[in-house]
Amino acid sequence: MSKNLSDESDVRAATAPFQAEFPYERDEEAQVTRREFCNFLGLTSAALFVGAAGFAAKGALDARESVSLAAARIDGAETLGPNSSLNFHYPTERDSAILIRTADGAYHAYGQKCTHLSCPVYYARDHQRLECPCHEGAFDASTGDVLYGPPPRALDVIEVKTRDGQVWATGRTASTPKTRG
Protein backbone atom coordinates (compact mmCIF):
# COMPACT_ATOMS: atom_id res chain seq x y z
CA MET A 1 0.00 0.00 0.00
CA SER A 2 1.55 3.26 -1.06
CA LYS A 3 1.53 6.15 1.30
CA ASN A 4 1.78 9.74 0.11
CA LEU A 5 4.59 11.25 2.17
CA SER A 6 4.23 14.76 0.82
CA ASP A 7 1.25 17.04 1.17
CA GLU A 8 2.40 19.11 -1.80
CA SER A 9 -0.11 18.82 -4.62
CA ASP A 10 1.01 21.43 -7.12
CA VAL A 11 4.51 20.16 -7.84
CA ARG A 12 5.50 19.19 -11.34
CA ALA A 13 6.99 15.82 -12.17
CA ALA A 14 10.79 15.62 -12.48
CA THR A 15 11.06 15.25 -16.21
CA ALA A 16 14.24 17.14 -17.11
CA PRO A 17 17.56 15.28 -16.65
CA PHE A 18 18.90 17.80 -14.14
CA GLN A 19 15.85 17.29 -11.95
CA ALA A 20 16.53 13.56 -11.77
CA GLU A 21 20.27 13.95 -11.15
CA PHE A 22 20.45 16.88 -8.76
CA PRO A 23 18.47 17.82 -5.70
CA TYR A 24 16.47 21.00 -6.00
CA GLU A 25 14.21 23.14 -3.93
CA ARG A 26 10.70 21.89 -4.52
CA ASP A 27 9.17 25.23 -3.52
CA GLU A 28 11.00 26.89 -6.40
CA GLU A 29 9.39 24.48 -8.84
CA ALA A 30 6.13 26.38 -8.51
CA GLN A 31 7.84 29.59 -9.61
CA VAL A 32 7.96 30.66 -13.23
CA THR A 33 11.42 30.92 -14.70
CA ARG A 34 12.46 33.70 -17.05
CA ARG A 35 12.67 31.22 -19.89
CA GLU A 36 9.12 30.02 -19.25
CA PHE A 37 7.89 33.59 -19.03
CA CYS A 38 9.62 34.41 -22.33
CA ASN A 39 7.94 31.42 -23.96
CA PHE A 40 4.60 32.50 -22.52
CA LEU A 41 5.08 35.98 -24.03
CA GLY A 42 5.93 34.34 -27.35
CA LEU A 43 2.73 32.33 -27.27
CA THR A 44 0.76 35.43 -26.33
CA SER A 45 2.27 37.25 -29.28
CA ALA A 46 1.26 34.40 -31.60
CA ALA A 47 -2.27 34.42 -30.18
CA LEU A 48 -2.59 38.19 -30.65
CA PHE A 49 -1.36 37.93 -34.24
CA VAL A 50 -3.79 35.10 -35.03
CA GLY A 51 -6.60 37.05 -33.36
CA ALA A 52 -5.93 40.20 -35.39
CA ALA A 53 -5.61 38.23 -38.64
CA GLY A 54 -8.76 36.22 -37.93
CA PHE A 55 -10.82 39.25 -37.02
CA ALA A 56 -9.66 41.13 -40.13
CA ALA A 57 -10.33 38.11 -42.37
CA LYS A 58 -13.82 37.64 -40.99
CA GLY A 59 -14.60 41.34 -41.41
CA ALA A 60 -13.33 41.34 -45.00
CA LEU A 61 -15.29 38.18 -45.85
CA ASP A 62 -18.49 39.56 -44.34
CA ALA A 63 -18.07 42.71 -46.41
CA ARG A 64 -17.76 40.73 -49.66
CA GLU A 65 -20.86 38.63 -49.03
CA SER A 66 -23.82 39.96 -50.92
CA VAL A 67 -27.02 38.20 -50.00
CA SER A 68 -30.47 39.01 -51.25
CA LEU A 69 -32.70 39.38 -48.26
CA ALA A 70 -36.28 38.19 -48.21
CA ALA A 71 -38.93 40.60 -47.01
CA ALA A 72 -40.25 39.92 -43.51
CA ARG A 73 -43.31 41.27 -41.76
CA ILE A 74 -42.63 43.10 -38.52
CA ASP A 75 -45.13 41.80 -35.98
CA GLY A 76 -46.80 44.43 -33.83
CA ALA A 77 -45.63 47.38 -35.91
CA GLU A 78 -49.17 48.36 -36.86
CA THR A 79 -50.10 49.09 -33.26
CA LEU A 80 -46.93 51.06 -32.57
CA GLY A 81 -47.76 54.58 -31.43
CA PRO A 82 -45.89 57.70 -32.55
CA ASN A 83 -42.59 58.48 -30.79
CA SER A 84 -42.05 54.89 -29.70
CA SER A 85 -39.98 51.88 -30.72
CA LEU A 86 -40.18 48.13 -31.17
CA ASN A 87 -37.43 45.53 -31.23
CA PHE A 88 -37.41 42.83 -33.89
CA HIS A 89 -34.97 40.57 -35.73
CA TYR A 90 -33.93 40.99 -39.35
CA PRO A 91 -32.75 39.29 -41.56
CA THR A 92 -32.02 36.39 -39.19
CA GLU A 93 -32.89 35.70 -35.57
CA ARG A 94 -29.32 36.66 -34.62
CA ASP A 95 -29.59 40.15 -36.10
CA SER A 96 -31.42 42.35 -33.66
CA ALA A 97 -33.03 45.48 -35.05
CA ILE A 98 -35.12 48.38 -33.84
CA LEU A 99 -38.17 49.90 -35.50
CA ILE A 100 -38.97 53.50 -34.66
CA ARG A 101 -42.15 55.38 -35.34
CA THR A 102 -41.25 59.03 -35.16
CA ALA A 103 -43.58 61.75 -33.93
CA ASP A 104 -44.70 62.50 -37.50
CA GLY A 105 -45.85 58.88 -37.91
CA ALA A 106 -43.07 57.67 -40.24
CA TYR A 107 -41.41 54.31 -39.75
CA HIS A 108 -37.62 53.91 -39.64
CA ALA A 109 -35.70 50.74 -38.83
CA TYR A 110 -32.04 50.20 -38.01
CA GLY A 111 -29.71 47.44 -36.94
CA GLN A 112 -29.57 47.59 -33.17
CA LYS A 113 -25.80 47.14 -32.86
CA CYS A 114 -23.92 50.35 -32.20
CA THR A 115 -21.25 50.84 -34.86
CA HIS A 116 -18.66 51.59 -32.20
CA LEU A 117 -18.42 48.33 -30.20
CA SER A 118 -21.72 46.58 -30.94
CA CYS A 119 -23.65 47.53 -27.80
CA PRO A 120 -27.44 47.56 -28.40
CA VAL A 121 -28.83 51.02 -29.00
CA TYR A 122 -32.22 52.11 -27.65
CA TYR A 123 -34.70 54.80 -28.57
CA ALA A 124 -34.61 57.75 -26.20
CA ARG A 125 -38.11 59.16 -26.41
CA ASP A 126 -37.37 62.41 -24.60
CA HIS A 127 -34.63 63.38 -27.02
CA GLN A 128 -36.12 61.55 -30.02
CA ARG A 129 -32.85 59.91 -30.93
CA LEU A 130 -31.13 56.54 -30.64
CA GLU A 131 -28.62 56.31 -27.85
CA CYS A 132 -25.89 53.85 -26.99
CA PRO A 133 -25.55 53.35 -23.23
CA CYS A 134 -22.00 51.99 -23.35
CA HIS A 135 -19.97 54.96 -24.57
CA GLU A 136 -22.60 57.66 -24.92
CA GLY A 137 -22.98 57.73 -28.67
CA ALA A 138 -26.18 58.96 -30.29
CA PHE A 139 -27.82 58.54 -33.69
CA ASP A 140 -30.46 60.49 -35.56
CA ALA A 141 -33.82 58.66 -35.39
CA SER A 142 -34.80 59.68 -38.93
CA THR A 143 -31.55 58.91 -40.76
CA GLY A 144 -29.41 56.77 -38.45
CA ASP A 145 -26.53 59.23 -38.79
CA VAL A 146 -24.14 59.81 -35.90
CA LEU A 147 -25.09 62.83 -33.81
CA TYR A 148 -22.20 62.65 -31.37
CA GLY A 149 -19.94 60.22 -29.57
CA PRO A 150 -17.42 57.61 -30.67
CA PRO A 151 -19.38 55.67 -33.36
CA PRO A 152 -17.45 56.01 -36.63
CA ARG A 153 -20.40 55.48 -38.98
CA ALA A 154 -24.18 55.54 -39.15
CA LEU A 155 -26.32 52.60 -38.06
CA ASP A 156 -27.18 49.88 -40.57
CA VAL A 157 -30.40 50.97 -42.25
CA ILE A 158 -33.25 48.51 -42.72
CA GLU A 159 -35.58 49.43 -45.52
CA VAL A 160 -39.19 49.51 -44.38
CA LYS A 161 -42.32 49.40 -46.53
CA THR A 162 -45.98 49.51 -45.61
CA ARG A 163 -48.29 47.13 -47.47
CA ASP A 164 -51.99 46.78 -46.66
CA GLY A 165 -51.48 48.35 -43.27
CA GLN A 166 -48.67 45.96 -42.39
CA VAL A 167 -45.04 46.99 -41.96
CA TRP A 168 -42.40 44.94 -43.79
CA ALA A 169 -38.62 44.94 -43.64
CA THR A 170 -37.30 44.53 -47.17
CA GLY A 171 -33.53 45.03 -47.06
CA ARG A 172 -30.57 46.02 -45.00
CA THR A 173 -27.64 48.25 -45.96
CA ALA A 174 -24.50 49.03 -44.00
CA SER A 175 -23.08 52.52 -44.14
CA THR A 176 -19.44 53.37 -44.74
CA PRO A 177 -17.36 55.51 -42.39
CA LYS A 178 -17.26 59.23 -42.99
CA THR A 179 -13.97 61.04 -42.74
CA ARG A 180 -13.89 63.44 -39.88
CA GLY A 181 -12.20 66.74 -40.05
Partner: protein, 87 residues
Protein backbone atom coordinates in the same frame (compact mmCIF):
# COMPACT_ATOMS: atom_id res chain seq x y z
CA UNK B 1 36.27 34.85 -11.15
CA UNK B 2 35.75 38.53 -11.81
CA UNK B 3 35.16 37.75 -15.45
CA UNK B 4 32.59 35.13 -14.46
CA UNK B 5 30.74 37.58 -12.25
CA UNK B 6 30.77 40.19 -15.00
CA UNK B 7 29.55 37.63 -17.44
CA UNK B 8 26.69 36.67 -15.11
CA UNK B 9 25.71 40.29 -14.64
CA UNK B 10 25.75 40.80 -18.38
CA UNK B 11 23.60 37.76 -18.94
CA UNK B 12 21.06 38.97 -16.40
CA UNK B 13 20.93 42.33 -18.12
CA UNK B 14 20.35 40.68 -21.47
CA UNK B 15 17.60 38.50 -20.02
CA UNK B 16 15.90 41.53 -18.49
CA UNK B 17 16.20 43.41 -21.77
CA UNK B 18 14.65 40.47 -23.62
CA UNK B 19 11.76 40.34 -21.19
CA UNK B 20 11.13 44.07 -21.37
CA UNK B 21 11.19 44.02 -25.17
CA UNK B 22 8.81 41.06 -25.29
CA UNK B 23 6.38 42.72 -22.90
CA UNK B 24 6.49 45.95 -24.92
CA UNK B 25 5.83 44.07 -28.15
CA UNK B 26 2.91 42.25 -26.52
CA UNK B 27 1.42 45.57 -25.43
CA UNK B 28 1.83 46.94 -28.96
CA UNK B 29 0.13 43.85 -30.40
CA UNK B 30 -2.72 44.22 -27.94
CA UNK B 31 -3.18 47.79 -29.15
CA UNK B 32 -3.08 46.58 -32.78
CA UNK B 33 -5.74 43.97 -32.02
CA UNK B 34 -7.97 46.64 -30.46
CA UNK B 35 -7.47 48.84 -33.53
CA UNK B 36 -8.31 45.90 -35.80
CA UNK B 37 -11.57 45.24 -33.95
CA UNK B 38 -12.38 48.94 -34.10
CA UNK B 39 -11.67 49.17 -37.84
CA UNK B 40 -13.67 46.03 -38.63
CA UNK B 41 -16.74 47.25 -36.77
CA UNK B 42 -16.37 50.64 -38.45
CA UNK B 43 -16.10 48.89 -41.85
CA UNK B 44 -12.87 50.77 -42.41
CA UNK B 45 -11.35 47.93 -44.42
CA UNK B 46 -8.45 49.88 -45.92
CA UNK B 47 -6.51 49.79 -42.65
CA UNK B 48 -7.04 46.09 -41.90
CA UNK B 49 -4.16 44.77 -43.99
CA UNK B 50 -1.55 47.21 -42.58
CA UNK B 51 -2.70 46.33 -39.06
CA UNK B 52 -2.37 42.59 -39.65
CA UNK B 53 1.04 43.10 -41.27
CA UNK B 54 2.16 45.19 -38.29
CA UNK B 55 1.01 42.45 -35.92
CA UNK B 56 2.87 39.88 -38.02
CA UNK B 57 6.05 41.93 -37.88
CA UNK B 58 5.71 42.16 -34.09
CA UNK B 59 5.30 38.39 -33.93
CA UNK B 60 8.37 37.89 -36.14
CA UNK B 61 10.42 40.16 -33.86
CA UNK B 62 9.16 38.21 -30.84
CA UNK B 63 10.20 34.94 -32.45
CA UNK B 64 13.62 36.32 -33.34
CA UNK B 65 14.15 37.52 -29.76
CA UNK B 66 13.15 34.16 -28.30
CA UNK B 67 15.01 32.01 -30.79
CA UNK B 68 18.16 33.92 -31.68
CA UNK B 69 18.70 36.91 -29.44
CA UNK B 70 20.64 35.32 -26.58
CA UNK B 71 23.49 36.36 -24.31
CA UNK B 72 26.79 36.03 -26.21
CA UNK B 73 28.39 33.91 -23.49
CA UNK B 74 25.91 31.17 -24.34
CA UNK B 75 26.53 31.45 -28.06
CA UNK B 76 26.55 28.00 -29.55
CA UNK B 77 29.42 26.96 -31.79
CA UNK B 78 30.39 23.68 -33.38
CA UNK B 79 32.39 22.85 -30.26
CA UNK B 80 29.60 23.71 -27.81
CA UNK B 81 28.58 26.88 -25.96
CA UNK B 82 31.25 29.58 -25.88
CA UNK B 83 31.90 30.97 -22.41
CA UNK B 84 33.49 34.23 -21.45
CA UNK B 85 36.65 32.70 -19.89
CA UNK B 86 37.11 30.30 -22.85
CA UNK B 87 37.87 33.12 -25.25
Amino acid sequence: MITDRRSKTGQTAVWQARLIMLVMINIAQLWILAATVDATLARNFSVLLPLVVASGICFAITLSIIKWWRPTSRRKTSSGYVREHDR
